[in-house]
């Protein structure tokens, strides 16, 4: 907030100064730029705390997600849950956990497809019918 406020104050001050000198067209550009900076910081602020977690404890498999201000918590029976990997048109994969008609995507924030596939393999060993 402090960074955005100082940047905005200086930019708008310059814009206003030149407006008083007759160059009022500086001000709209300064305003647009301040909006862009504020939005960039707001976006990062909103999503800085995003996370996904998966907990396997006893018979239960708990998936928790935090995306902006939305929290979700899904609990499956570990032995009834299934791991599903779908290929996307771009060649990447998305990972889902499902049970009793309910499906939850997991691993969107992983940095690459390999990590998602590795996680899917590891989950398959720990959930569903374990042999």
């Amino acid at each position: 907030m402090v960074v955005v406020a100082i940047t905005a104050a200086f930019s708008l001050l310059v814009g206003l100064g030149f407006s008083f000198a007759g160059a009022w067209l500086v001000l709209p550009f300064a305003g647009l730029e301040v909006l862009a900076i504020a939005y960039a910081f707001y976006y990062i602020h909103c999503h800085a705390g995003d996370y996904e977690s998966i907990t396997i404890e006893g018979d239960s498999l708990t998936i928790e997600k935090h995306d902006y201000k939305y929290d979700s918590r899904t609990v499956f029976n570990r032995y009834w849950a299934g791991v599903l990997v779908r290929e996307l048109p771009c060649g990447d994969h998305s990972l889902f956990l499902r049970s009793h008609g309910k499906e939850v995507e997991f691993g969107r924030h992983l940095m690459n497809d390999d990590q998602r596939l590795l996680l899917a393999e590891q989950l398959k060993k720990r959930v569903g019918v374990i042999t």
Binding site: F18, G22, A23, L25, V26, A30, A40, F41, D114
Partner: protein, 530 residues
């Protein structure tokens, strides 16, 4: 500072390949590479333009071109070098190195990063297209006002001015996008434990650069938009006959133009102490003093703009204010020079190519700074203004201080980027040829300026002939020696001796903890700064 880090291993690449990799990439290293390649191409384009100018100036009289075409070459050369070569080079390093140095997986806003880069090629085309068409007799050519767009000349200019206005707008948007990304990345993506005062100097240099761009780009955008409306929509912002003020344009332009010098130089000042400490094998001297000096220079740079047009006629108090405020910049700059020299003092120095460029850079940029002090003197400036003295001064500042600094950075980080060592002998040859020919090009121009030769003229009086001939021959050598640079980069990218992770014995920083070349995804686990 010590580090604990984990680098991601990416034996399996899932990212797109071929042209789509480059068009759609959001990877900071890919985008950094594109910026650097683009910058190198435009450096050669701008260089060829000015070599044509120098050939024309080899002898008095008109040899090769008409005066209007000469003016186009001068203007487009400057715009290309500043906006399409130097700035993208600094942004390329920011993309490559900021996430690596801060311990971040990527820049904070990767898609914005991609857009920021892909705005550059259309802008470069807009800038050079009218000029290229004029070569084939189509249209009335590119902007012929010099890079400053001064009104009323630019109000009366041909369609090339409109092309340049749109190009500047696009380049400005790209710069603002890059700046927002840098600021957000630095404030949000630093590794745990990396406080602001533990950041590498390069990050500090870029942070202040980004703030300067944010502060000044709207002023340039407003100025060229007003120019556009004066040209086509009947406004009179800069037309004295309609109640406007052509001097207002100069104030607007230089409010952007002077900080622009520091925008080009601060990133170089940022990584140069890192190069010096690497090859002096001792810690950087005066980290805090350098950070505070950066801030001092950043703040002063936005309040000194009118020294670029002392001779236009200003009230005496304004002249005195701008003279002393300009001279005040030499205080933090002197602190920086002291720190750079003290970093080398009693170090176990070796002179690999990056260090040669760094030491040469200190000496030559020092000359640029000292001649700037001369120009800051109102009384002396009346004689030097608009002469070749100014041309020589700003080339010592921007070629030696900017481009030679960038070259030091390229040689320093190229093994890290490519995973191969460059040819050291070729690098050293490149340095010596560049340093000698650069001095032989521009020292004569100081004398020409002192003797009264004005800038931006295609013909000159006979007494200036000898110095111009020397300058032209040296400029041709300077231009040709850059082919060694390109050859060295290309051959290093294609293969060569394998570089180690640390590359240099004295290197210190997070980027050197990663493999050479770094994996596609840099830090899959955040490093911890202890």
């Amino acid at each position: 500072m010590s580090y604990a880090s984990t680098a991601g291993h990416d034996e399996h690449h899932d990212h797109p390949t071929g042209i789509m990799r480059w068009l759609t990439t959001t990877n900071h290293k890919d985008i950094g590479t594109m910026y650097l390649i683009f910058s190198l191409i435009m450096f050669m384009v701008g260089g060829l333009m000015i070599l044509a100018v120098r050939v024309e100036l080899f002898q008095p009289g008109m040899q090769l071109m008409q005066p209007d075409f000469y003016n186009q070459l001068i203007g487009v050369h400057a715009l290309v070098m500043i906006f399409a070569a130097l700035m993208p080079a600094a942004t390329g390093f920011a993309n490559w190195m900021l996430p690596l140095q801060l311990g971040a997986p990527d820049m904070a806003l990767p898609r914005l990063n991609n857009w920021g880069f892909w705005l550059l090629p259309p802008a470069a085309i807009l800038l050079t297209l009218p000029f290229t068409l004029a070569l084939f007799g189509i249209g009335d050519g590119a902007i012929a006002t010099g890079w400053t767009f001064y009104a009323p000349l630019s109000v009366q200019g041909g369609i090339g001015v409109d092309f340049a206005i749109f190009a500047v707008h696009i380049l400005g948007i790209s710069s603002v996008m890059g700046s927002i990304n840098v600021i957000v990345t630095i404030f949000n993506m630093r590794a745990p434990g990396m406080t602001l005062m533990k950041m590498p100097m390069f990050a500090w240099g870029w942070l202040i650069t980004a703030f300067l761009l944010i502060a000044t780009i709207p002023v340039l955008a407003g100025a060229v938009t007003m120019l556009l409306t004066d040209r086509h929509f009947g406004t009179h912002f800069f037309n004295a006959a309609g109640g406007g003020d052509p001097i207002l344009f100069q104030h607007l332009f230089w409010f952007f133009g002077h900080p622009e010098v520091y925008i080009l130089l601060l990133p170089v000042w940022g990584f140069m102490p890192q190069i010096l400490q690497t090859f002096a094998r001792k810690p950087m001297y005066g980290y805090k003093a350098q950070v505070y000096s950066f801030w001092g220079i950043g703040v002063l740079s936005v309040v000194v703009w009118a020294h670029h047009f002392f001779t236009v006629g200003m009230p005496v108090p304004a002249l005195i204010y701008f003279m002393f405020s300009t001279m005040a910049i030499s205080v933090p700059l002197a602190v920086l020079f002291f720190c750079w020299i003290a970093t080398m003092w009693r170090g176990s120095m070796t002179f690999e190519t990056p260090m040669l460029f760094a030491v040469g850079w200190i000496i030559l940029f020092g000359i640029g700074g000292l001649t700037g002090l001369v120009l800051a003197d109102v009384a002396a400036d009346a004689q030097y203004h608009h002469t070749y003295f100014v041309v020589a001064h700003f080339h010592y500042t921007l070629f030696a201080g900017g481009i030679m600094g960038i070259m030091a950075g390229v040689y320093y980080w190229l093994p890290k980027m490519t995973g191969h060592m460059y040819n050291e002998n070729l690098g050293k040859l490149h340095f010596w040829l560049t340093a000698i020919s650069f001095n032989l090009t521009f020292i004569p121009q100081f004398f020409l300026g002192l003797a009264g030769m004005p800038r931006r003229i295609p013909d000159y009086a006979l007494q200036f002939a000898d110095f111009n001939a020397v300058s032209t021959v040296a400029a041709l050598v300077l231009g040709l020696s850059q082919l060694l640079f390109i050859y060295n980069i290309v051959s290093c990218a294609r293969g060569g001796k394998k570089a180690t992770d640390k590359v240099w014995e004295g290197s210190d920083g997070l980027e050197w903890t990663l493999p050479s070349p770094p994996p596609y995804h840099s830090f899959t686990v955040q490093p911890v700064i202890k």
